[in-house]
């Protein structure tokens, strides 16, 4: 993909120009997912006449804190944050909110003074994912879940959504099943949640080991963008493509190709491009003195960019849209 942009600020002009608002977009880590968001940010930068900056903390929460502090220093007009640990970052967000407009994206910090949240409800997205599973496996069976790390808020909510949906539980996003627990209920047997700490070789090894451990596994669910491609690799090598159902999250090329080829039943996609674009639009607007209402943010401060279920029937259409957003077509 291409992520270079002509809207980068010039050296030394620390974004306090009167007419052009400066907007920073802080992610919760480094991932291709965020590169898609970055192109949304850049596009919106041109569209709404803002100087934009994208920061991806590579070293976790301490790094994110440092970046936000430095943005305050820079006098950035608006900051969009995907908080890694919202419960404990309220103060930091409030501190930033004293100096500039702050919103959250991808993951919310409802207790803070952020002005709004742009993203989806991860618990609901998890439930949508659960629907895909139930649909792919009407007879149930053994299911394994793969995810980068489980202490990230969005990951936990997604996983809980998946579990609650297939077990037919009521909607309650505060539930939490311990990660190592095997859950056997009715026709379903959830054999465990495998984490890899963003180590891809480990992610693939997890998929392999899950197959070793459970020869009668019928379904693999990957909750972070890079998990499904790794699962597909492992399946391909084990000659089990299509035999074990794959349910995915996000829009990695391999995942979409897997849907086209019939190796992946379906995926839940967010819209990172829109996360980026909308964040810049809203922050630029707030800087120029517009109100939330004027910017079409609902009363509850939640700009929902809903997740979508992608199956074989709508994958081509979706893929084309994605490529267009990334400027690849």
């Amino acid at each position: 993909g291409c992520s270079s942009s002509s809207t980068d600020s010039k050296p030394g002009t620390a974004g306090v120009t009167a007419d052009r608002p400066s907007v920073a977009y802080v992610t919760n880590g480094v991932a291709s997912f965020w590169v898609i968001a970055e192109s949304g940010v850049r596009q919106a930068g041109e569209e709404f006449g803002a100087d934009v900056d994208v920061l991806m903390p590579a070293e976790g929460i301490g790094d994110q804190k440092r970046m936000i502090e430095d943005l305050i220093t820079k006098g950035t007009d608006g900051i969009a944050i995907s908080p890694i640990d919202p419960d404990n970052q309220t103060e930091l967000i409030n501190e930033a909110a004293k100096y500039s407009h702050v919103i959250t994206h991808d993951s919310d910090a409802p207790a803070s003074n952020r002005e709004c949240y742009i993203g989806m409800d991860n618990y609901l997205a998890g439930r949508m994912c659960g629907q895909l599973i139930a649909e792919a496996l009407p007879d149930g069976g053994k299911v394994a879940i793969f995810v980068g790390r489980l202490e990230q808020d969005n990951a936990r909510r997604r996983r809980q959504g998946v579990i609650d949906e297939i077990l037919g539980r009521s909607e309650d996003s505060s539930r939490f099943d311990p990660p190592d627990a095997e859950i056997k209920e009715g026709k379903w047997h959830l054999v465990g949640t495998f984490t890899d700490q963003f180590d891809r070789a480990q992610g693939k090894a997890n998929a392999e080991d899950a197959m070793s451990r459970h020869s009668d596994l019928v379904c693999m669910v990957g909750l972070f963008a890079y998990n499904p491609p790794l699962m597909l690799e492992a399946l391909g090598q084990a000659g089990k493509l299509g035999k074990i159902k794959v349910i995915a999250f996000d829009e990695a090329d391999e995942t979409l190709k897997g849907i086209v080829d019939g190796h992946v039943h379906g995926t839940i996609v967010q819209n990172p491009f829109e996360y980026g674009r909308q964040s810049v639009r809203v922050l630029a607007g707030l800087t120029q003195g517009k109100s939330l209402a004027e910017l079409e943010i609902p009363e509850n401060g939640f700009l929902n960019i809903p997740a979508r279920q992608i199956r074989r029937d709508n994958v081509d259409e979706y893929w084309a849209e994605l490529k267009k957003n990334l400027g690849e077509e």
């Binding site: 980068d8 600020s9 010039k10 050296p11 030394g12 002009t13 620390a14 974004g15 480094v30 900056d53 994208v54 920061l55 991806m56 590579a58 070293e59 976790g60 929460i61 301490g62 804190k65 440092r66 970046m67 502090e69 430095d70 943005l71 305050i72 220093t73 820079k74 006098g75 890694i84 640990d85 419960d87 404990n88 970052q89 309220t90 103060e91 930091l92 790390r149 489980l150 202490e151 311990p178 990660p179 984490t195 700490q197």
Partner: protein
């Protein structure tokens, strides 16, 4: 003094360059941030320096930060321990680990690299097991304790405040300088870092001194871990403190410690730690430096620093030789 001139020059150079490229660099807020961050890493680097001076190495610093950083809020918030009890446990734990490292190295004659590499793996795994991979945070509580990291001591007559970690670093640095240069223990550390056998044959219990160095390092890592989590507010066992040992060691090396042992000044080490924090700040503040090459910049600067240092040393040696010969 001469030894720290190089690194001091580098720090000043980076600061001047950044100030020229960003008018926000010298704002009070930024300076306070930089002071706080440098202080936090400086504490770790001082610990690393003591071990390096005795010709050892401690790779477990980052995992110690993780262990203490996660257990502190876990004990307070999750387990409901009182503050004094928690602090006592954390201190005992850190010191105990230092003693363990030192003992394995001196009594079982294991290599420091190996022992502390195992520590690096073990303490993080242990932490993850204990807190069950859950993020540990203060949830807005414990403000008075967090003052240790977030508080400031305002300078009378100005509205400038010295961040608390800076004050703590100052105290530690002064103690470290006294220990290293004015007590027999420091002298023994320098001596044994250069020649362990000769030091032992001079009647010095080198084992005990080695253990002392590891205790200081583990203790300061623990203190650092505590201050880091008090500053950040929460810690995830999976990545909290990741790679901090490398930053700590790099700071010590930049500051003039030789990994061959027997060399190093505390002030140099503190400056070395600051260089890296200022660099990171520079990269975020200056727009045209892409953030994703951050590591590349830090790596290049450290390498440049040691190369320049080496070049200056050689030049000086040449001049001295020429000067005296004529």
């Amino acid at each position: 003094m001469k030894k720290i001139l190089g690194i001091l020059g580098l720090l000043i150079f980076i600061c001047v360059m950044t100030a020229l490229m960003s008018d926000r660099f010298l704002t009070q807020y930024n300076i306070e941030n930089l002071l706080r961050r440098s202080a936090l890493f400086g504490i770790l680097s001082i610990g690393a320096a003591f071990v390096i001076i005795t010709a050892g190495i401690d790779l477990s610093i980052g995992s110690m930060v993780c262990l203490v950083g996660c257990l502190l809020p876990w004990m307070l918030v999750d387990q409901g321990f009182s503050v004094p009890v928690t602090l006592a446990i954390v201190a005992a734990l850190s010191i105990g680990i230092g003693i363990l490292h030192g003992t394995l190295i001196t009594k079982l004659k294991l290599q420091p690299f190996v022992v502390t590499l195992c520590g690096l793996l073990f303490y993080r795994g242990l932490t993850r097991g204990i807190v069950q991979d859950q993020t540990q945070g203060f949830k807005g509580d414990y403000q008075s304790l967090r003052w240790l990291s977030q508080g400031q001591i305002s300078l009378p007559g100005t509205d400038f405040g010295i961040p608390m970690p800076c004050v703590i670093l100052l105290v530690i640095a002064v103690l470290a300088i006294l220990l290293l240069n004015f007590t027999v223990y420091g002298r023994y550390m320098l001596a044994l870092g250069r020649n362990e056998t000769a030091t032992r044959l001079s009647g010095i219990n080198t084992d005990r001194i080695t253990v002392l160095a590891y205790v200081i390092c583990a203790g300061l890592s623990g203190l650092g871990g505590m201050l880091f989590v008090l500053d950040v507010g929460s810690a995830q066992p999976v990545d909290f403190g990741n790679f901090y040992e490398l930053y700590a060691i790099a700071g010590a090396v930049l500051g003039g410690c030789s990994l061959r042992g027997g060399e190093g000044t505390i002030i140099g080490v503190v400056i070395g730690a600051a260089v890296m924090q200022v660099l990171k700040n520079t990269i975020t503040l200056v727009d045209w430096i892409p953030t994703n090459i951050e590591y590349a910049v830090i790596g290049a600067v450290i390498l440049g620093g040691v190369v320049a240092d080496e070049a200056v040393k050689r030049y000086a040696a040449k001049r001295a030789a020429a000067g005296r010969a004529t």
